[in-house]
């Protein structure tokens, strides 16, 4: 399946992807409205260490342990994409506990949030679309 990959070589650590992600998952269409005064919780993370940077988000595992560990049935697959039903999630933390990528995190509303590859807005995930240096790619590997 198509996933978001990072070409570490080109990641600048600018963190724009995190903001584009946040915007894409907010209800706003404008970056200012979406982010102003907010605690930015994006579905992908940039890890920085000196000059090395890379982004990491949900790998949409073929066999996702988060779904197995989910105590509420909130996590499930839509096609090949692992998505979360925020109505069902009770934020028990089980998925945080088992995800080896650290891809899930608490949302502003107190339940879990995760990358859903921007499937609701269709097309290319916004993190990839907004990457200034072609470091993030959305492709089949």
């Amino acid at each position: 399946m198509k996933r978001v990959y990072i070409n570490e070589e080109w990641c600048l650590g600018c963190h724009l992807c995190e903001y584009n992600c946040f915007l894409s998952n907010s209800k706003e269409s404008d970056m200012v409205l979406a982010c102003m005064g907010k605690n930015i919780k994006s579905n992908l993370h940039i890890e920085d260490s000196g000059d090395i940077h890379f982004a990491f988000n949900c790998r949409h595992c073929k066999d996702p342990i988060c779904i197995k560990a989910c105590i509420s049935g909130a996590l499930h697959k839509e096609g090949e994409v692992v998505v979360i039903d925020k109505e069902k999630c009770v934020f028990c933390g089980s998925c945080i506990l088992v995800c080896p990528y650290g891809a899930l995190m608490e949302s502003e509303s107190g339940v879990m949030q995760k990358c859903e590859l921007c499937i609701s807005s269709g097309g290319v995930p916004k993190c990839v679309e907004g990457c200034p240096n072609g470091a993030l790619v959305f492709e089949e590997r």
Binding site: F56, K68, I71, C92, G93, C95, L97
Partner: protein, 406 residues
């Protein structure tokens, strides 16, 4: 082929999915002794808190699975390969999965029968939750026996809906199966600040109608009694046919029991914990899911093993979230700070266990994977314990886990 599954929770769900994932036309029959349609059991405390509804709690099985509710398996006939059920029917199987889970263990307290059934309950099923819910009232005093996960989650669920909550435990600390001493104390302080009262190192000598005399001779009055001392695996069905059990049904890495064509998975089993290298019941959702899936695949004739079971828990009380995994042995690395506890147990260059709380739980699964994959810590960046970053991994491991996703 016909598969019969006894029990209808996580192990059963994952087994049924696994069996049917191979696009076979195998038949799957699930027997559930509960009258309620399958539901996500751990949510019962969240139901009391209004964080979910019975509707949302429903667990949906694949459509073709035949679920028979309110029907208990009473006997297994291994010769005829049949399960004799409480409805009088006999269910023929080619492969059988026992995923009967566990039941509350209630010690024979003196005078417990004096406490009316109207005001006492265990806390294990949706039915229990409904019953408890019916009892709650702003002026009721609640006594909970047991400070394990069930006891504390029930305490959390009702604290704000009753007058008081007292918790007693024979152990001298709370949640001893999940936490180490320091984190036990940490959680206790937090819960006390929320208003819970703990009476530790104590048991009940004798109950009277609405009061308990404790082993230190003090008495606690109550209007509601919740019995949450512990659980026992429902192994009797299996024991009767001569299957090997310990504290649960003994299974191998294929989820096979000692009897051919019979598999077991979930809370009913005892299996190897690789963090302590000891065989023990690992009664947690992921374990039930893994074992169930493993059983299902093997029942369908596709070999699959589950080899790295590790005890782990994710839970939370009010706004204090905790995740823990592994065993607490070896050298302690304590990096706790104002963001929460960060306690790591390291032995032989491997992470054996950890306890993280509050915002320190973020991305904690990265640590769990270190335990499960038995990663040599010397191959990682030393900063891994300051923050769980994939960057701490050598490129090969990053590439490996990337591949594993696919």
């Amino acid at each position: 082929m016909r598969h019969v599954i006894i029990g209808a929770s996580f192990a059963a769900l994952n087994a049924a999915k696994a069996i049917l994932s191979n696009e076979s036309d195998d038949e799957v029959v699930v027997l559930s002794k509960e009258k309620d349609a399958p539901y996500y059991r751990p949510l019962i405390s969240y139901l009391l808190m209004g964080k979910t509804t019975e509707e949302k709690m429903r667990m949906s099985f694949p459509e073709s699975v035949k679920i028979i509710l309110g029907t208990e398996a009473e006997r297994i006939d291994t010769k005829k390969k049949e399960v004799i059920a409480s409805n009088g029917k006999r269910y023929k199987y080619d492969r059988l999965l026992i995923s009967t889970g566990s039941r509350p263990f209630v010690p024979p307290f003196k005078g417990l029968d004096r406490v009316s059934d109207e005001i006492k309950t265990t806390f294990m099923t949706l039915e229990d939750a409904r019953k408890l819910n019916g009892m709650l009232d702003k002026d009721k005093r609640v006594l909970i026996i047991g400070s394990g996960l069930i006891g504390l989650k029930s305490a959390e669920a009702i604290l704000e809906r009753v007058k008081s909550v007292d918790v007693i435990d024979l152990q001298n600390r709370i949640l001893p199966a999940v936490l180490d001493e320091v984190s036990s104390e940490y959680l206790k302080k937090y819960l006390e600040a929320k208003g819970m009262r703990f009476h530790l190192g104590l048991s009940v000598d004798e109950f009277s109608e609405k009061s308990a005399r404790l082993t230190d001779n003090s008495t606690l009055d109550f209007d509601i009694l919740v019995l949450a001392v512990g659980v026992r695996a429902n192994t009797s069905l299996f024991e009767e046919i001569g299957g090997k059990t310990g504290r649960g049904i003994l299974i191998d890495t294929h989820s096979r029991t000692s009897i051919p064509n019979i598999y077991a998975a979930g809370d009913v089993t005892e299996s190897m914990d690789i963090s302590s290298m000891a065989s023990k019941p690992i009664q947690i959702v992921p374990n039930a899911a893994f074992q169930g899936e493993t059983a299902g695949m093997n029942m369908a004739g596709i070999e699959k093993t589950f080899e790295n079971a590790v005890p782990m828990n994710a839970t939370g009380f009010f706004s204090l979230h905790l995740i823990t995994a592994g065993t607490y042995k070896g050298e302690l690395l304590d990096l706790s700070d104002e963001n929460g506890l960060r306690r790591f147990y390291i032995e032989n260059d491997e992470l054996k266990g950890f306890i993280l709380t509050e915002s320190a739980i973020e991305r904690g699964g990265i640590y769990t994977s270190l335990i499960r994959d038995r990663v040599k810590l010397s191959t990682l960046d030393k900063n891994i314990f300051k923050a769980p970053l994939l960057m701490a991994f050598p490129k090969e491991r990053r590439e490996k886990i990337e591949k594993e996703a696919q």
